[in-house]
């Protein structure tokens, strides 16, 4: 059996098994995801040895479905599997007291399987299917606590935002298949010219939706309504990563114009969402905004023409961001909430957790020798070397600065304050998952050179980039730690806290008109319905009138004629007495009368 099959089917079949057995969800989930991890590692090992696993399934006529484990996809698959495993271990503790473990773990496994399909897909049709599946399962997971107020609307919002951006992917895929005549991703990457520009921009739209880039970033912060392990998974290696993965995989095809647009979108996002994160009043929402910001940095790297830098940052960010979320989940259980007012001093409750959280935060800010330093350095070096060096470097440095500032601010709030001791159920499992991810976040940087050899590309080291990046990160951290956020943001604060009114703008310019159209369509529909009903009523009325005139009019006429005739007959019958004498007398008298009349007529 092919390892690809195992990597995808192990989580999927475990999900089915959980739903069928209806017991031991946590154990089964851990087992299934671990088997998937082994398969992914096997794929990666094969990739290191130069073996490419591939499966070709019968699909549409002339468009077979392909699953392929190239070095890139095997690496991504391993990343997804590792993060899923650690998050799953954490989730066992996190969900200890929840009543609906079956649904949770089954959906999480479905999510993992869909994401494996997405990264391993070798053709566009399978990729589209997996893309839709991760949209669906993230909707289910964000809306997991559907009884709580606001959760379903957050899930629906996330689904609709990503779903409308998906239209870009659909059109791009149709264009690519039509122009290349094949659905194989590797073949379509040879597309060039105007087609590539258009398809690239459409792919960017899809990636903007999934990776929560400005102006479509609003759904990600609202998606915090889901359980924390879900947030960790969404933000690190799955849903949100799908957008960046899409762009990284298609990067060889993208022409310079498209790359420039991608860089600008990413740069604007990293600054805007960085400011939003700085002004945020809730830990999980801060981390969500930070995710958008980091994916903005990856887009900058793609825009600079070095997708490898984006990939490295994606990997480092996956480990870092899931650690941060898992830490936030521990604090959430400790204080029953994630608002900063509740979390003051929460770091002192759980010093070990806080240590892990702080390590991950520093890694995100880009402090050596943690993994984030190497990936950020790669991004800054890439933007320095790109044709639009000035703009992209500014964006990248601003993003780095803001990252340092908001992470320092979060750490500051978590540490300053009074400790409150709370017992947390399932802390052991949560700690294990967190520890694994933090370790990854710390040491991943050492693995980057071997990844570069695996992918057969190399990043040029750049001392200038390192100096610039480190100084931006350090100054960001200092600013965030020592200067209160209100002073730091100044007049921008109310704007940042309202998300720069972009969500409102989307509401005003997209959602309201959509609702208005829907409403007028409904009016039209109701009108048509009423008209149809009216026609029906009219027909019924005519029918009734016809029946009435038939029964009372024509039938009545005939019946009255009949009745009249019968009555006339019975009256005439009275004359027929049967008494011969009387009748003869009448005859004689009648004849006499006739004769008399004749006589009178003759005489006159």
């Amino acid at each position: 059996m092919n390892l690809i099959t195992v990597a995808i089917l192990a989580p999927l079949s475990t999900a089915v098994l959980i739903l069928l057995l209806r017991r031991l969800p946590a154990t089964l989930a851990l087992l299934g995801i671990a088997i998937g991890l082994l398969a992914s590692i096997g794929l990666l090992a094969n990739a290191f040895n130069g073996i490419t696993n591939e499966i070709i399934l019968p699909g549409l006529p002339d468009l077979p479905l392909r699953l392929v484990a190239t070095p890139l996809t095997a690496l991504l698959s391993t990343l997804v599997a590792v993060v899923c495993n650690l998050v799953m271990i954490y989730a066992v503790g996190y969900m200890k007291l929840d009543g609906e473990k079956l649904r949770f773990f089954a959906t999480l496994l479905l999510f993992a399987a869909a994401m494996q399909t997405l990264v391993l897909a070798g053709d566009w049709i399978l990729l589209l299917a997996a893309w839709e599946l991760i949209g669906l399962s993230s909707y289910l997971l964000i809306g997991f606590w559907y009884r709580r107020p606001g959760v379903t609307s957050a899930a629906t919002r996330a689904f609709l935002y990503t779903r409308s951006a998906d239209l870009g992917l659909y059109i791009a895929v149709f264009i690519l298949i039509a122009s290349a005549g094949s659905s194989d991703i590797a073949t379509t990457l040879n597309t060039g010219g105007g087609t590539a520009v258009v398809a690239g921009l459409l792919l960017l739209v899809a990636a903007m939706g999934k990776s929560a880039q400005t102006p479509l970033h609003d759904w990600l912060q609202r998606a915090m309504a889901g359980p924390t392990p879900v947030s960790a998974l969404l933000h690190s290696a799955t849903l949100v990563a799908a957008g960046a993965i899409l762009l990284i995989r298609t990067a060889p095809m993208l022409p310079p114009d498209t790359l420039l647009v991608i860089g600008i979108v990413g740069g604007i996002t990293t600054v805007v969402t960085g400011l939003i994160a700085l002004g945020e009043r809730d830990l999980k929402r801060l981390l969500a905004a930070s995710t958008s910001s980091q994916y903005g940095l990856m887009l900058v790297a793609v825009g600079a023409g070095v997708p490898l830098a984006a990939l490295l940052h994606l990997i480092a960010h996956a480990a870092i961001k899931s650690s941060l979320f898992l830490g936030a989940g521990v604090f959430q259980h400790s204080r029953d909430g994630t608002a900063f007012t509740q979390l003051e001093g929460a770091g002192r409750d759980q010093p070990h957790c806080f240590f892990g959280f702080a390590l991950a935060a520093l890694a995100l800010a880009g402090i050596p020798p943690l993994s984030g330093f190497f990936s950020k350095d790669a991004i800054i070096a890439a933007s320095l070397a790109s044709p639009n060096a000035l703009m992209l470097t500014t964006f990248a440095l601003a993003g780095t600065l803001l990252t340092g500032a908001y992470m320092a601010r979060a750490l500051h709030i978590l540490w300053r304050g009074n400790s409150q001791k709370h017992d947390i159920v399932g802390l052991g499992w949560m700690g294990a998952g967190l520890a694994g991810l933090v370790t990854l976040a710390v040491i991943l940087g050492a693995a980057f050179p071997s990844l570069e050899t695996l992918l057969n590309e190399s990043l040029s080291g750049n001392t200038l980039a390192q100096v610039l990046g480190l100084s931006a990160a350090l100054s960001g951290l200092t600013l965030g730690w020592f200067i209160p956020m209100q002073r730091l943001l100044g007049p921008l604060l109310p704007w940042a806290q309202r998300g720069f009114a972009i969500a409102g703008g989307v509401d005003t310019w997209v959602v309201r008109p959509a609702f208005a159209i829907a409403r007028s369509c409904e009016q039209l529909e109701r009108g048509l319905y009423a008209a149809v009903l009216g026609v029906g009523r009219l027909g019924l009325g005519i029918g009734r009138a016809v029946r009435y005139s038939d029964e009372r009019g024509i039938d009545g006429l005939i019946f009255s004629l009949v009745r009249g005739t019968v009555e006339l007959g019975s009256r005439a019958r009275a004359l027929q007495s049967g008494l011969i004498h009387r009748e003869m007398a009448i005859t004689v008298v009648g004849t006499a009368l006739i004769l008399a009349t004749l006589l009178v007529a003759l005489l006159i």
Partner: protein, 103 residues
Amino acid sequence: MSIELLLALITGAALFGVGVYGALSQTNLVMIMMGVELMLAGAMVNLVAFWRYLHPDNPAGQMFVLIIMTVMAIEMAVGFGVAIARFRAKGSVEMEEAAELKG
């Protein structure tokens, strides 16, 4: 008009009048039929008188009388048949009792 014709017409009218009276005044079916015979006889006297004194060369008048006599004979046969049937069934031929025949 000759006096003979007038006499004949008066005789016919008298016969007819006696017949009418008989048909109206009698209650027995046989007697009523005899009244009717008298009326027919009166009519025939009239016919014969008109033929004899006004159009003696035209045989249509004679023929007409002969047809009436035939009809009279048939009528008698039918009438007496009915009377006999009635008598056998009810034991009388009184017409006042036969009103139920109208159905």
